[in-house]
């Protein structure tokens, strides 16, 4: 159940003319693969996830999903970078939302949702509305909602970005557990290079705007990996490499000199 993105391009219409966000992006995610996406801020990572989720139509290019007729799309769940927790629902209803949509009976969906709410440490807040939560707590609601949906493809946009280091580790372990138990594809956007290397089968490194895939790096680490042991030499080597690319791209962007190379 992998998928292939072919020559994706996205141009946004803005007040000040057109903005080319993505240019000729091609990559694939194969069955049960965990792919990480890193790149400078504003390079189009979120845009790619929205394309895969079908929330945005590419200006050019196509996405093909395995074993689905053209145009059809397997179930996917996205953890949005901006959380997207409904302010008008309490934590339970937010997390159970996907199940409610699929018509799962109330008792059952509440049971499932409660279990996941427990796992993200929000059982005290099950009745609370989002405005009563801290930012990190809202992010955890959004994570639980995606997990509950039990999708074939998980699209995660900086999912643990608002969590403290320790909570983040626990959540990551949870994610890795789910991923390895069930056959899912994961496309994972992160700002943390180390994290990308620790989690991914492959890391896609993007250029600055307009976003292109500059390099695909296979991560040769065996599974299961110990998420706490980040100082292995392979990791450090890859990290330095990626860091080098990013530095080039970011410096160019900050100087405002980035032109298609």
């Amino acid at each position: 159940m992998g998928f292939r993105c072919k020559n994706l391009g996205v141009t946004y219409k803005t007040q000040n003319g057109e903005l080319e966000a993505l240019e000729d992006v091609s990559f694939s995610v194969s069955d049960h693969e965990f792919v990480c996406l890193v790149g400078p801020s504003g390079c189009g990572k979120s845009t790619i996830l929205k394309l895969v989720a079908g929330l945005l139509d590419p200006t050019t290019g196509t996405i093909e999903f395995d074993s689905k007729p053209a145009g059809d799309r397997p179930r996917n769940a996205m953890v949005f970078q901006e959380h997207g927790v409904f302010p008008w629902m309490n934590v339970l209803d937010n997390v159970a939302f996907g199940l409610a949509i699929r018509g799962v009976p109330k008792a059952e969906r509440n049971a499932i949702a409660s279990r996941f709410i427990d796992r993200v440490g929000l059982s005290h807040f099950i009745d609370s509305h989002p405005h009563e939560l801290s930012v990190g707590m809202r992010q955890r609601v959004s994570i639980a909602r995606a997990f509950v949906n039990d999708p074939e493809i998980l699209l995660m946009d900086e999912p643990f970005g608002s969590l403290d280091a320790m909570t983040k580790l626990v959540m990551t372990e949870e994610l890795m557990g789910i991923w390895s138990r069930q056959r899912k594809q994961v496309l994972y956007v992160t700002h943390d290079i180390e994290e990308a290397i620790m989690l991914g089968d492959r890391v896609l490194v993007m250029t600055g705007r307009p976003g292109r895939i500059r390099e695909e790096i296979e991560i040769p680490l065996a599974r299961p990996r110990d998420l706490r042991d980040r100082d292995k030499s392979e990791i450090v080597k890859i990290k330095e490499h990626v860091w080098g690319i990013l530095e080039e791209e970011v410096r160019a962007g900050l100087r405002g000199q980035h032109e298609p190379s």
């Binding site: 929205k50 989720a53 079908g54 929330l55 179930r75 996917n76 769940a77 996205m78 949005f80 901006e82 997207g84 409904f86 302010p87 008008w88 629902m89 939302f97 996907g98 409610a100 949509i101 699929r102 509305h129 989002p130 405005h131 909602r145 949906n149």
Partner: protein, 259 residues
């Protein structure tokens, strides 16, 4: 700090104090005939009349006739207005198709079209209700539409991503997300419906607050006129309370966050 808290505790008492002060002032200047007593009766006289009309007259009968007319009209006009407003707020295509018609029909004067409506729909209950319904239709529609358009697009994305059908998006995103504005629409719509109910009764009906207003003008019983207007104002206050209850119930997330 604690002075601020005391001030806050005082707030509920301020409106009654203002009211009583205003009434006392009016009482004084009317009793002193600074205003012509022919047209400005003292508030106490109006209150006495109101009391008489309630106990001896049929004020409550008239009131309930108006309230029934108002509610029927509002339900028949407001709910379609809300639904259409949700659809127009949500879908650019529907909005662009229907908005010119809404714009053209909204200002068509309701009361002066009443004879035409009566010729089409007959001279009975239906015509009168249609006019009231139409009056609440537009504020509900326009407010709901604005309310839906302010919903942050990410919530639509989330719902679609969870596999929601169009109907489910309507139910779980569009409706709750626009509730604060729907309720502003309810408030406007109910008040407009009340005004139009009174206008219709003024012209046509044999029952209702509007009929009382008409009678009061016709007989120049100024105390009765003011008493009737006070009754209309009390209906308005009830509407306000009702909407506040709805707000507290339906959008604790919005009111609690901001009060």
């Amino acid at each position: 700090m604690s002075r601020r808290k005391i001030a806050e505790k005082m707030i509920p008492f301020i409106p009654p104090i203002i009211l009583i002060a205003t009434l006392s002032f009016l009482e004084t200047i009317t009793r002193m005939e600074i205003l012509p007593s022919l047209f400005f009766p003292p508030p106490t006289a109006v209150m006495a009349t109101l009391y008489n009309m309630t106990t001896e007259g049929a004020l409550l009968d008239h009131l309930s006739a108006t309230v029934i007319r108002l509610l029927t009209g509002f339900l028949l006009g407001g709910i379609p207005g809300m639904i259409l407003g949700m659809m127009m707020g949500w879908s650019t295509a529907i909005r662009r198709i229907l908005d010119p018609f809404v714009a053209a029909l909204h200002p068509v004067p309701k009361i002066s079209s009443l004879p035409i409506i009566m010729i089409i729909f007959g001279i009975g209950f239906v015509s009168r209700t249609i006019v009231v319904a139409v009056a609440s239709f537009f504020p509900m529609l326009i407010n709901t539409m604005a309310g839906v358009r302010q919903i942050h697009p990410i919530y639509f994305d989330v719902a679609r991503n969870c596999g929601a059908s169009r109907l489910q998006v309507l139910r779980h995103v569009v409706l709750p997300g626009s509730t604060p504005f729907i309720l502003a629409g309810v408030r406007l719509g109910l008040n407009v419906s009340l005004s139009i109910s009174l206008a219709v009764e003024l012209l046509l009906a044999d029952k209702g607050i509007g009929t009382l207003i008409w009678m009061a003008w016709q007989t120049m019983r100024i105390e009765e006129l003011y008493a009737t207007i006070v009754t209309a104002a009390l209906v308005g206050i009830s509407i306000r309370i009702f909407v506040q209850l709805l707000l507290n119930r339906c959008v604790p997330w919005a009111t609690k966050a901001r009060t």
